[in-house]
């Protein structure tokens, strides 16, 4: 998928959502992440993909919600919101973590890398390219998490065999069961 078509898809989604604005707003105010600055908010700085972002969040806001709903970095996905699927995987100081299981306030002095931070300009990261070449996705819901986890799996050196990759990628589930192609893509990129 090119950056261009991705942009168009999101524009369409946004336009479509205006039809249900009323309910959307109602749920938004109910979710902690979307709540505007309140008395209980704290000012924090998050360093994401090389940029500092100042924002006010309630302490209960997870890193995942801060990324998606406050910084508009929606590449990081929310699957289960309880540590079980891996869709929300990001790198914290180069180590893979699940952003739904940590609070934004706890990650202030951390260098966060999300899927948006992998490409260098127009040049995709080798693992992103390998995912395309190996057709390692269907719906794409798990893909950003798979790629972030795969990047770390490679840098950790856990790619000596397909079995080893499967074990060390076990924190990332794929409902579309693209596992063979995901393993192949990681093997390619690890070379």
């Amino acid at each position: 998928m090119t950056a261009d078509s991705e942009f168009k898809r999101r524009t369409v989604l946004k336009a479509g959502s205006t039809a249900v604005t009323a309910t959307f707003v109602a749920t938004r105010t109910a979710t902690p992440a979307a709540a505007a600055q309140t008395e209980s908010s704290v000012d924090i700085t998050l360093r994401v993909n090389g940029h500092d972002h100042r924002l006010a969040v309630e302490p209960r806001v997870t890193l995942l919600d801060a990324l998606r709903e406050r910084l508009d970095l929606t590449g990081t996905k929310k699957g289960c919101d309880r540590g079980e699927c891996g869709a929300c995987t990001v790198l914290a100081d180069g180590r893979r973590i699940k952003s739904c299981l940590t609070l934004a306030v706890m990650r202030q002095n951390t260098e966060i890398t999300t899927i948006e931070g992998l490409a260098r300009g127009d040049r995709l990261h080798p693992l992103q390219e390998a995912f395309i070449r190996r057709d390692a996705l269907q719906c794409g819901g798990c893909t950003p998490g798979q790629i972030m986890s795969g990047v770390a799996c490679i840098s950790e050196g856990h790619t000596r065999s397909a079995d080893e990759i499967r074990e060390w990628m076990s924190g990332n589930l794929c409902r579309c069961a693209c596992y063979p192609n995901i393993v192949a893509a990681i093997q390619d990129a690890a070379k």
Binding site: P59, R82, G83, G86, R96, K98, T102, V105, M106, C153
Partner: protein, 322 residues
């Protein structure tokens, strides 16, 4: 999740002072606490982030390995001294959760993850652990995952930690801000107060664990059986440490997960082996001794057989039994 105030103290004294306030709770990795708070199973007015404390080191000195409470599961598993001298600890950790969770979770938080079952987080059911005195639906309900050892009529939930089973097998000592005591004394069985899971006081901080380096601990292994190949809690697990003199078992530790309400050591099973040769007969005897006091329910009786087979398999591997 209810909102809370947040503090990130820089030293142990400050952390303990803040956590001593009513309603306060430490957070380390947050991987257990945040899920419980999200489910509404727990809520705390003040969260005390201990990640700024200097408690993350792993050092070996004077025949003791000291693991700081904030050392991450992944770092402990990969540490050369741990792999060499405490293989059961490294194996138990590598068989826990996922790489991401292991990068986040601290060993102190790991052994304090809550003992519970599926009913606990279900807001629509009663549960003695959630609200004391309301009853335990697991007794007559879904109890396949539940304990056959150490349970009571009040609660049957199993302690979920793999690491705790391993630490019990290597005679670990718990260090807190105010005292030190054997790891075996940390967890308590539910009895009539299932909401009470450890001997720690409110606001007591685990600062680390000390583990003696011994030939026994160096020959140790972990076997975990689960419903899928990986990224799953144990149905049954066994940690064993073995010291042989010729063909005779000089000393042994046998501890178990998935079958009991707390990390479970079986002195009876150990006695069945100590001073004896490791044979099919003695291993079978050890397994029988382990489950002699087992109490089963509708769906978990299979664990009685499964845990004995797991013990058998692990001891053969470790001891080369004939």
């Amino acid at each position: 999740m209810r909102n809370f105030t947040y503090a990130a103290p820089r030293n142990v004294a400050e952390a303990v002072r803040l956590a001593g306030q009513p309603g306060a709770r430490f957070i380390a990795g947050g991987t257990d606490l945040l899920n419980l708070m999200r489910d509404g199973a727990q809520s705390h007015g003040a969260i005390i982030d201990i990640n700024g404390l200097a408690l993350g080191d792993i050092v070996q000195r004077n025949g003791v390995i000291r693991i700081g409470a904030l050392a991450r599961m992944s770092d402990v598993a990969a540490h050369p001294a741990v792999r060499r001298s405490l293989p059961v600890v490294s194996e138990a950790l590598l068989n826990s959760a996922s790489p991401q969770v292991r990068n986040m979770a601290a060993v102190g938080g790991n052994v304090l993850q809550r003992t519970r079952c599926g009913y606990f987080r279900d807001s629509g059911t009663t549960c003695n652990k959630k609200t004391p005195g309301t009853g335990c639906p697991a007794l007559e309900g879904e109890n396949r995952g539940h304990a056959i050892l150490g349970g009571s009529d009040h609660c049957l939930a199993v302690h979920p930690s793999d690491l705790a089973v391993a630490l019990l097998a290597v005679d670990a000592v718990v260090l807190t801000d105010r005292r030190r005591f054997p790891f075996a004394d940390l967890h308590v069985v539910p009895g009539t107060t299932p909401d009470q899971e450890t001997v720690l006081g409110h606001g007591e901080l685990i600062t680390g664990f000390e583990i003696p380096v011994t030939p026994l601990a160096a020959r140790s292994r972990y076997l975990k059986l689960r419903d899928r190949a990986t990224f799953e809690f144990a149905v049954v697990s066994v940690a064993a440490a073995l010291a042989m003199r010729g063909n005779t078992v000089r000393d042994v530790r046998l501890t178990f997960g998935g079958v009991a309400t707390k990390p479970w050591r079986s002195p009876e099973a150990e006695d069945a082996l100590r001073g004896k040769p490791l044979t099919t007969t003695t291993i079978t005897e050890a397994g029988r001794a382990l489950v002699r006091g087992a109490v089963t329910r509708d769906h978990n009786a299979f664990k009685v057989d499964l845990v004995q087979r797991a013990l058998d398999g692990l001891l053969r591997d470790l001891g080369g039994a004939r």
